[in-house]
């Protein structure tokens, strides 16, 4: 049977992707940001997943006001990096696992989450920047990746509680998949940032770190945080953090009565462009 062995959480800042693509990772401004991901390269080699389910959001790239699904699972075989107006990022095509994706879609919809299934979409920085941070510069991504999009742009966006319950449904779906594969689940976006209005530039270090503490130790309590608190305390774009609860909901202590996960890595840095960078890796007990 398929196993979820770890979850990974990270911001997905477009300027980090630009710095990466332009070879600026060793500049003074960017060095401490990328240093936060040095841990990941050997860790990923030692804990290599077969498939990553990567929860991210589209930023008015593939989803315009023509349509925005609340939850969308990508069931197609491969996805290209999107041109977001500056040219497509020069990173590998995402190769997915359509069989597992279809299985998850089917199982999760039958647990009353009304997912949209998407076969054709270009994926934006929300997905590709985390991949670059974690894997570095590679010819191809070292595993299959199933993108899963959550609307956090057009309010009302789904609550933390809904995202946490969705993660549990995804967890159960993965654990019922017959193939013996190693699956990681990622939550991306955040941490505190606001990109609009006179309050742009807001950072709330104390709130962010409390969020990290509670994500580790009290995810059920954290999931009850109302959306208004994210917007008020972590900035209008800080609401992206609800996506981290999807990944956390799929961990063994929440979904399978297992022990608490082990904190393999924790990182926090301000700033990257307008944003606080947060990164966490949690391992399920073997």
């Amino acid at each position: 049977m398929a196993r979820i062995t770890a979850s990974l959480y990270t911001s997905h800042i477009p300027a980090v992707g630009a710095a990466f693509d332009l070879g600026k990772t060793r500049e003074d401004y960017w060095k401490p940001v990328f240093a936060g991901y040095d841990f990941d390269k050997p860790w990923m080699k030692a804990h290599k997943p077969d498939v990553i389910v990567a929860v991210y959001n589209d930023h008015a790239t593939a989803f315009s006001l023509a349509m925005i699904p609340t939850f969308a699972i990508m069931t197609g075989p491969e996805f290209n990096p999107a041109d977001e107006g500056y040219g497509a990022r020069p990173v590998p095509t995402i190769i997915s696992d359509p069989e597992l994706a279809s299985h998850i879609a089917s199982e999760v919809i039958q647990q009353d989450f009304d997912l949209t299934m998407v076969n054709e979409i270009d994926v934006d920085h929300g997905l590709t920047v985390p991949l670059s941070c974690v894997f570095g510069e590679v010819e191809e991504w070292p595993c299959k990746i199933i993108p899963f999009a959550v609307n956090v742009v057009q309010h009302p966006v789904p609550s933390g509680a809904r995202c946490f319950a969705l993660g549990q449904a995804i967890g159960r779906a993965i654990m019922s998949y017959p193939d013996d594969i190693n699956v990681h689940i990622w939550g991306t976006g955040g941490m505190s940032h606001q990109l609009q209005g006179p309050r742009a530039g807001l950072i709330n270090k104390e709130w962010d770190n409390k969020f990290l503490d509670r994500l580790i130790d009290d995810p059920t309590g954290l999931s009850k945080t109302p959306n208004i608190e994210y917007v008020r305390e972590a900035g209008s774009e800080g609401i992206e953090l609800v996506m981290w609860l999807v990944a956390r909901g799929a961990m063994a202590d929440v979904v399978a009565g297992g022990p608490k996960p082990k904190v393999a890595h924790r990182f926090y840095h301000v700033p990257a462009s307008n944003t606080a960078v947060g990164h966490l890796i949690l391992e399920n007990a073997a």
Partner: protein
Amino acid sequence: MALEKPYADIPGTTVFDAEQSRKGYWLNQFCMSLMKPENRDRFKAGERAYLDEWKMTEEQKQAVLARDLNRCIELGGNIYFLSKIGATDGKSFQQMAGSMTGMTEQEYRDMMIRGGRKIQGNRRIGEDGDAQRPRKDA
């Protein structure tokens, strides 16, 4: 029943809710059109003429021509859509965000390096933080 907006008391912030989305539909779709290089070229060659192809209000067109992002947001624009205008102009996201704060580009960048804008005084309208002004209704 009107939308309940518990976020209406957050200073310097407009939440892109269903009402804003409805108001900003064509403004945001105009922005989306700038994802295509040929449309960026046409817009740059004649901004007013290109805007007139869209069912936007005159206020929305004026706000785009003036690159007044706060006004664009007030009129239903969303920052991720409006960023396509910035990309067309060759501006970074930091330049765009900074342009809405009344600070210079350097001041905004320096504020971020110092740890960003503080939350203290900026949670609710009427407190004494630095995001209370300039406000759209000031």
